[in-house]
Symmetry: none
Subunit: 401 residues, 2 copies
Amino acid sequence: MNIHELIRDLREPARTKIVLLVADGLGGLPLKPGGKTELETAARPNLDACAREGAIGLSTPVLPGITPGSGPGHLALFGYDPLEYRIGRGVLEALGINFPVGAKDVAIRGNFCTLGPDGKITDRRAGRPTTERCIEVVNKLRTIKVPGVEVFVEPVKEHRFVLVFRADGLGGQVNDTDPQMVGAVPLKAEGADPASAKTAAVANEFIAKTQEVLKNEKDANGCTLRGFATYPNIITFADLYGLKPAAIAVYPMYKGLARLVGMDILDAGQTLADQVATLKRVWNDYDFFFLHYKYTDSTGEDGNFPEKVKKIEQFDAAIPEIRALKPDVLIVTGDHSTPSKMKSHSWHPVPTLIVADTARTDDATEFSERTCLHGGLGQFQAVHLMLLAMAHAGRLGKYGA
Amino acid sequence: MNIHELIRDLREPARTKIVLLVADGLGGLPLKPGGKTELETAARPNLDACAREGAIGLSTPVLPGITPGSGPGHLALFGYDPLEYRIGRGVLEALGINFPVGAKDVAIRGNFCTLGPDGKITDRRAGRPTTERCIEVVNKLRTIKVPGVEVFVEPVKEHRFVLVFRADGLGGQVNDTDPQMVGAVPLKAEGADPASAKTAAVANEFIAKTQEVLKNEKDANGCTLRGFATYPNIITFADLYGLKPAAIAVYPMYKGLARLVGMDILDAGQTLADQVATLKRVWNDYDFFFLHYKYTDSTGEDGNFPEKVKKIEQFDAAIPEIRALKPDVLIVTGDHSTPSKMKSHSWHPVPTLIVADTARTDDATEFSERTCLHGGLGQFQAVHLMLLAMAHAGRLGKYGA
């Protein structure tokens, strides 16, 4: 019996509310051996209070040593095994620009490129156009029609765009047409099965028409397509947990990931204060709230240790207002670590806390990587976090008699 | 290679003895954040001595957040993955009244109900008869014969009874006949496959005959059947581990669970003192002893914190006499937690200790939820406990060269 079957068997209705606060890239590293991490450096009176009242631990997003992207990191937090539920690159790119990908879609990452008179690629990024120029060229591609298929073209930035084909019976097993080198002609799209062959035929027709539409462009006179992906067949949060979930995220990628599991995507404004105001406004309308805080990750990616500390302190300051709503279960975690020292996502386990009436309090008086190591939640797999959330919310019945 | 194959490959004969003491529902919760659990409150000089000499840790019965019933909880301790080995409700009910279910049996939970003149249910519990009355009506059902099948009817209590059909080729995939509402007629039994269709035919014939036999009863003039279950096909303890196991349990449910894995069920008397006396008496006849102590669970279920503390202290007091037998491996654990605060089983990890000559002693000086969190066994899956038992008993050889 797999975990999702188990949850569907055991879940029970309740009036309890769960708040999942994701501070993106929360975990960090000390800059020097024996030093303090960003979280350990930050003043965090409110997170420490949570640690005293609840249970803390470290969550492993995928497996030890595996650094997750935002997609797998969030899927695990939502309770979907990231090694089983894989989201294709094209779909992730589309989610990242807030394009509402659907069940009949194949989403593809497009790159503008420069083609020589012989059709060979002379620049794989079309001279890195500005994003304004990208939008201009995308508008020309939007004139292209392919019979029997709805075609959507959306700018991303510089030479990158998203292409979506919408029709019944399209497959996603299509090779990249980017030959990954200059001096070669783009590859022909081919499908690995009949449904994907249909997609490949559409793609080849689209590419042929781009060369017509773009023939007078100097730099961006061709394109390559990568990461063909169908929309993943994922059971919704409502069907899996019996929860009515809301996502309160500022950035499109996280709205997209939440939409993927069927959460309602709320207008969250632009700041953490806006997000908390949204949470308060809709408090009576939902029973699960995913609130995503971006800046612990982006400052880590920038390698800006003191700024990440500051962003953690701003996040900490929002906790009392959230706790004042009296959620039955409050979880604070991250989708992965983003140590400033590494300027990137990392595989290090993520500090996590659960405050609930049924939490078995440990001896923790602070919320940090070091204290989480000795916390009552131990080191656990992120994909099991929702089991704990549901249990503490009184929403999981007994397994067996 | 699954764990059972591994054990059968690696196991080696030895003259060592293993004692598994299960204090049912051992784990608890503090009544207030930062307070002490039942185990932490109890005076437990003998368990603390074990903790100093051995290794301690926390065992997760099924998965984080999953609250096990007694069946899954014990199967895990015995080394059978509770998500793989599932015991049907009918079999569990039969085990609970100490009925010796066998390989050819389908066991079913029966409810007496009241039927109106139109055959519709007017009371799903037949007015909750006394248990004496239940026995009286069961005796009438015992007159029913179904050709080709042995039929057993056993009282449970109030409106509940156990029905067992014994014959070759009976299946267990049969729907409940209880429509779960009054004002409806009981459902017809139907089988999902040919073997289960055979069972369903027997069940329908049995039900028809009950209406004849019970036609003069006022309240209990009908019955519904639920939880049809065949005896699970489980490898025995002897075949799996090469151990000769004895169960020393007072309550029928735990005797039944032990019988399920092929343990010898000993006459254990009524008290812990009786159980320890039994253990001493048969010490030379077996090499594995499962001793089940019920009252840490029942007091937790009652929500009686001080009484659970007292029952832990009584359990602690029995430890020296058991250790005097010098088992090579002594394990103390629970099948799940039963916090008085929750008045129910829970998912919280269970304090566990192993005393053996090969235990890697940790820094623990006490046996409690908090100290187990930092113990040498870490947080581990209950289903792996028997691997540790076998290893410490010198009964598992090297894997690979």
